[in-house]
Symmetry: C2
Subunit: 207 residues, 2 copies
């Protein structure tokens, strides 16, 4: 499928070089098609860019689906169940962040966050917003005292611990003195993350 090949290459190129830096010539070339296919299928460079955002949102939802599948009604969870659920969610994020498959998506998204455009709106509405809603619903069962905005902020901070594995990957590599994560590294990071998250979720309110 030409469209799919174009999307795959475009996500990679836009992620690495940015919207302005990527060239439709190169994208079409790497997708082994003519430059004018972009115009035909997506209406131009910008249309291709937005289609990338939509596609990524779709993929993220698909990737996280198993994590959220058995979470039909968060308000039915008791505290311990909610904690266990939250640990599973964070571990799911962590897996996605460590996984090589998320690299192109992550590059694209991280770049969008720095200077958000219409593409970010689509990413948020399509994937990130719904995920945050689910997370804060679970967290609300653990911290019933917390106001909604604080719950959401808390989710973002916890999420930040996993995000650094992607958005700050070059630094994490330097810190661990490696060029890629070994299975042992991944296991260590997951274990640390689970422990940190558990500590955060179960801490007393007043330090």
């Amino acid at each position: 499928m030409v469209q799919q090949r174009l999307l795959d290459v475009a996500i990679d190129q836009f992620g690495r070089l940015g919207f302005e830096g990527a060239s439709t010539r190169d994208i079409a070339g790497a997708a082994e098609t003519a430059m004018s296919s972009i115009t035909y299928h997506f209406g131009g460079k910008e249309g291709l860019y937005l289609a990338c955002a939509d596609f990524i949102a779709e993929q993220i939802v698909k990737r996280l689906d198993p994590v959220f599948a058995d979470l039909c009604d968060p308000s039915a969870l008791d505290r311990d169940q909610a904690i266990e659920q939250m640990l599973r969610i964070v571990d799911g994020f962590c897996g996605m962040m460590i996984d090589q498959a998320s690299a192109p998506w992550a590059r694209f998204i991280v770049r969008e966050q720095q200077a958000p455009t219409e593409a970010f709106e689509r990413l948020w509405r399509g994937a990130m917003g719904p995920v945050l809603d689910s997370c804060s619903a679970v967290l609300a069962r653990i911290r019933p005292d917390m106001p909604p905005r604080e719950l959401r902020a808390m989710c973002m901070l916890v999420f930040g611990q996993t995000m650094v594995l992607r958005a700050g990957r070059a630094s994490v590599f330097k810190a661990l003195e490696v060029d890629e994560f070994s299975a042992q590294d991944a296991a260590m990071l997951r274990a640390l993350l689970r422990r940190n998250t558990f500590a955060i979720l179960t801490a007393e309110m007043e330090p």
Copy 2:
């Protein structure tokens, strides 16, 4: 100073548009000088880019200096002092991440991390590496049982919580339903972060 104006504009443009996306014409124009000044002062586009990295590293070290100033010998700290020190460091990071002044640096750095070049080496050697070393030395006093690589990984995860405030700022804004951080938002985030960090640092080793 023409050089300084060029650096300021270049950090902004490179951060927003990437190396390939930014144009020396626009940079020179916004810095109110001729395009050929870039060749004269920095040897070309790439020289300017690397000079940006060096300048940012310098600024970060300067910005964090008060936080690390009274940390001459981390190995002399007892556990409680080390915890207090770590909380101060994280709060310092948090302040830097929330501060508008760090926005252009962050854009530049986050972009570099996605596809590291020589500029990232300079950022790491100049600022991030030394900061990590200091942090893990302090953390070692709190977790004397932890192997060095795990200490460094732990620092990165804790750091991730603050990094999300910059690298994932667009998402945090969405989560809090704002367009910029109010003083109250900043205070809430700092308080949450302090509490989370305290919980992580003082948690039992086995969850």
